[in-house]
Structure formats: C-alpha cells, structure tokens
C-alpha cells in the first residue's frame, strides 16, 4: 500500500472535513499497479498556508479552492507551477467560469470539480488524478533508467571494442620497429595474441548482432519444430577444434527424437553459448556433459563442465551484459561478456523459461535451462 498525500485548500471547514471523510477509507487500484493507493489528507485554510505546507513536505495531490481569503487559488497554482513541484492540482470551486478554467488549465491544473460535489464525484476525480500521477512518475523513471542503461551499454561497448584494437595495434608497432630483434620466431606470441584478440572482437560483434536483433525484435521469429538432438550435435561439432586442442571430451546424452516448437536460430544461440563456455572455461583433459531431456512438459538443457568454476560472488554477476569474470584463470580467454546475457534474455523473454547456474571453483560449472513446452 502506497499513500498519497492530499492537500485540501479551502476556507470552509465543512468542505475540508467532508473531503477528509470521503477519502478516509478510499483506495485506488489498477490491474497494472503493483499496489493500491490510499490517501492522507492535509488541510490548509488559506493559500499562504498551502504554500507553507507544499514547501515543507512532499504533496502528491492538491484540491484547491479558487476563492480564498488572501491570495487566491490561481495564484497558488502559479506558484506551484513556477517551483515545478511534482503535485497534481485539482480546482474545487463554486464560481467556475470559462475564464478561470482557461487560466487554471494553462497553469497546469489537472481538472475541475464544481462545488457542491457528491462523494462519488470526488472519488472518481481522485481516481483519475491518481492514475495520471502514477503513469507520469512511472514514465519518467523508465525514461531515466532507459537512458542510463543505454549510456552504460555504449560506454562499455566502446571500451570493449577499442581494447582489442589497441592491443593489436601495439603488437604491430612493436613488430614494425623490430623492437625485440630480427629473429622472427620471437614475434610468434605477439602474432598469436593479435589473432586471439581479433577473434574475440569478431565474437563480440556477432554477439552484438544477436543482441540487437533480440532488442529491436526486428527479426521475424520463425516458430517450428526444432530437432534438439541436431542442435546439440552441431554446437558440439563447432567446438570440436578447441576441444581437441585442450583435450576436452564432450559427451551428449539426448533422445534423438527430442523436439521443441521454437525458433531454430534462438535454440542454436542458447545451446551454442552454453557448450562453447563449457569448453572455453574448461581445464585441459576435462569433460563436458550435455544432457537434454523432456520432463513432463518441460525441456531440460543441462551443460556441465569440469572446468575452472566460479565463486558465488562471480556467479551472481554472470548474466549481466559485458560482465566477464576476471581472474588469473580467465585472463587469457577471450569473450565478449554478452553470451550469457543473451541466453538469459532469450530463455526468459522469448520462452518464459529459466536459467540457473551452479558452480564451484576448480571443480566445474553446471548451467541448467528449463523451457516450458508452450
């Protein structure tokens, strides 16, 4: 329950106490709001007192009579507008004229309630103003967060794109000046590292393309029967060269008839990312176990490795964009830091599924994806 503060500005005590009674047990709720709103009434008998209150505490809604003994309602309204208080104003007046209405609306009054009003009329006005206030604040917050997130994303992205360029450029300069002598073999590591960084950058660009497709929702999704055995097979074949280099053995346990109605590209992205991580972050001579099963109406995809593992703190960060776990064991491994955030987006956003991770440093990591069938 959230409470909105309503300031009633009227010189007639009867009106103030009437409004207090009407709003005392009133609740406003909408299906799209997480919580209901109730109302706390604060009273002011003059415009001057109203301004004093507005300045000393946060007020959400102001019910404002125009005809007041000192400064009038319109003047209070102008003041509130000038100070840009985040309050919605509703005029209550028995002398409603067109002139006043125009003036009040120009100064940001939300609406009018003519005096005398029935409790029903007041409640329905308050309901409207509450909804308006809620949406306005929500929109503002979302805009703010959205901008923030985009800005962060872009600044991290530019860093991630630039560091491989800097690294390769640095090596090329060293080679150009023959800084470590004339023996070509002495440059081999630099060439290997340059190639590795370029590979990392390509992965990042590919991942970015996946991500922009997801975010913009532009790519038409093509839902059809996807052969999961085949998807797993292909993912493992793709990782075979690296697995051979590290002498990692991959094992597949999946019924050949296992299917899901899904977008085939998306299924590939999910399984590829998990399998490639399991090989990349494995130890030499390790194992990767890929298990796919249907349990009731849920497809279970489990990818288990015997790799370097992670601490609990590291696992907690894992699904965020551009998060790469940095430590002694991962420093030579390239990655975009986007793969798992993409997988999570797909699993949760497009399939209402879940992804979880269990990991132990130096023992291994298990990712489990659960996709409900429809």
């Amino acid at each position: 329950m959230a409470t909105l503060k309503v300031l009633v500005v009227d010189d007639e005590p009867g009106i103030r106490s009437g409004i207090l009674r009407i709003l005392r047990n009133f609740r406003v709720g909408y299906p799209f709001m997480d919580e209901d709103f109730d109302f706390e009434v604060v009273e002011a008998e003059t415009g001057e007192k109203a301004i004093e209150i507005v300045e000393s505490q946060p007020i959400d809604i102001i019910l404002l009579d125009n005809k007041l003994p000192g400064m009038d309602g319109i003047e209070v309204l102008e003041y509130i507008k000038k100070k840009e208080y985040d309050a919605q104003v509703m005029m209550i007046t028995s002398y409603a004229s067109l002139d006043l209405a125009v003036k009040a609306t120009n100064n940001g009054a939300f609406n009018f309630v003519p005096k005398p009003f029935t409790p029903e009329e007041l409640r329905s006005s308050i309901e409207g103003i509450t909804k308006h206030l809620f949406l306005k604040r929500m929109t503002r917050q979302m805009n703010k967060e959205g901008k923030q997130v985009r800005f962060q994303f872009l600044s991290v992205l530019s860093h991630e794109l630039k560091s491989p360029i800097n690294a390769v450029e640095g090596y090329l300069k060293i080679m150009k000046d023959r800084q470590v002598g004339e023996n070509l073999a002495d440059y081999d590591t630099m060439i290997d590292r340059s190639l590795e960084r370029i590979k990392g950058m390509r992965t990042l660009i590919m991942d970015l393309m996946d991500l922009t497709r997801l975010e913009s929702g532009k790519k038409a999704r093509e839902m059809r029967k996807v052969d999961l055995f085949q998807v797993a097979r292909i993912a493992m074949d793709t990782m075979e060269p690296m697995a051979i280099q590290k002498n990692v053995k991959m094992h597949l346990d999946c019924p050949e008839t296992l299917t899901i109605k899904a977008d085939p590209d998306e299924m590939e992205i999910i399984v590829n990312n998990l399998v490639s991580n399991a090989v990349k972050y494995n130890k030499d001579n390790g194992n990767v176990f890929v298990t796919l099963r249907q349990v009731n109406s849920i497809i279970n995809i489990k990818v288990e490795d015997t790799g370097i593992g992670m601490t609990e703190q590291e696992s907690a960060l894992l699904f965020q964009e551009f998060v790469r776990i940095k430590n002694e064991k991962t420093k030579m491994i390239t990655g975009s830091g986007l793969g798992l955030s993409i997988v999570k987006k797909l699993v949760e956003g497009n399939y209402q599924g879940t992804i979880s991770v269990r990991s132990k440093p130096d023992v291994g990591t298990t990712f489990t994806v659960m996709l409900p069938l429809n």
């Binding site: 530019s158 630039k162 800097n166 690294a167 640095g170 060293i174 590591t189 630099m190 590292r193 420093k331």
Partner: protein, 131 residues
C-alpha cells in the same frame, strides 16, 4: 653501463597491453615488474623496491587505478606514479594533475594516454626519475 638499474612496476588488466609496455620499458633500460590486478600491484609494492609505477585506471573496478595510486603513495610517498589510461579517448572526460586542486585528490604525478609513443614515454619517465 648503468650500475643500478631502476625498477618500473606496470599494472594493467589487459595482458597484451602489459606485455607491450614491458617490452618498451625494458628497451629503455629499466627492470620491469608487472601485475594484472590492483591487488597484485599492492602486493608487489609492499614486497619490492620500486622506483616508478605505471598503472591503469580501470581494472577490477572503475577506480582501481586511483585507489592503487593512493595506497602506493601512502607506502612510498617519494615514488613517482604515472596513470596510463584510455579514459579520455573513450569518455571525453579530461583528467589532469596539473592544477593543485586535481593534485589534492588524484595522487598521480602524471597522466599518459595509452598508445603513447615510446620516445614520449621515455621522456615522461626520465623527467619523473630526474634522469
């Protein structure tokens, strides 16, 4: 020729940048120690006698460089510290240690941009070591 070679510590989380700086600084005639985290950098400072440090700004955390710099100056106030960063090129933020106000909160002696030419790097190092 040099009787007592000076030791330069380089701290950066990009292993390739670290390797490249190591080559360049060694060519200038210094002994080089490297660390790829703020933590490893702190450990070396306590253990070894370092004449000058070149450290990256953003490592484990965005402010790792500043913190490392601060700790280094606390342990060894006379040791010059250079902060090497690509932060200006990437964010447009300008850092400097030319004014007194900046010096009061950034403990580094000089800022260099990453990708600086070897001869410029040499000049900066020599200036700080008064060679």
């Amino acid at each position: 020729m040099k009787e007592n070679k000076k030791t330069v510590l380089i701290v950066d989380d990009d292993v390739d940048y670290l390797a490249q700086m190591e080559i360049q600084v060694k060519r200038l005639g210094f002994d080089v120690l490297t660390a790829d985290t703020q933590k490893a950098g702190e450990e070396i400072i306590i253990r070894e006698k370092i004449d000058l440090a070149i450290i990256d700004l953003m490592m484990e955390n965005k402010d790792s460089g500043f913190i490392l710099c601060y700790k280094m100056k606390k342990i060894n106030p006379k040791m010059p510290v250079i902060i090497a960063s690509a932060v200006t090129a990437e964010t447009g933020l300008n850092f400097g240690v030319e004014t007194l106000a900046d010096r009061s909160w950034i403990k580094a002696d000089t800022f260099i941009e990453k990708g600086i030419r070897p001869d410029q790097l040499e000049r900066e190092i020599n200036k700080l070591l008064k060679i």
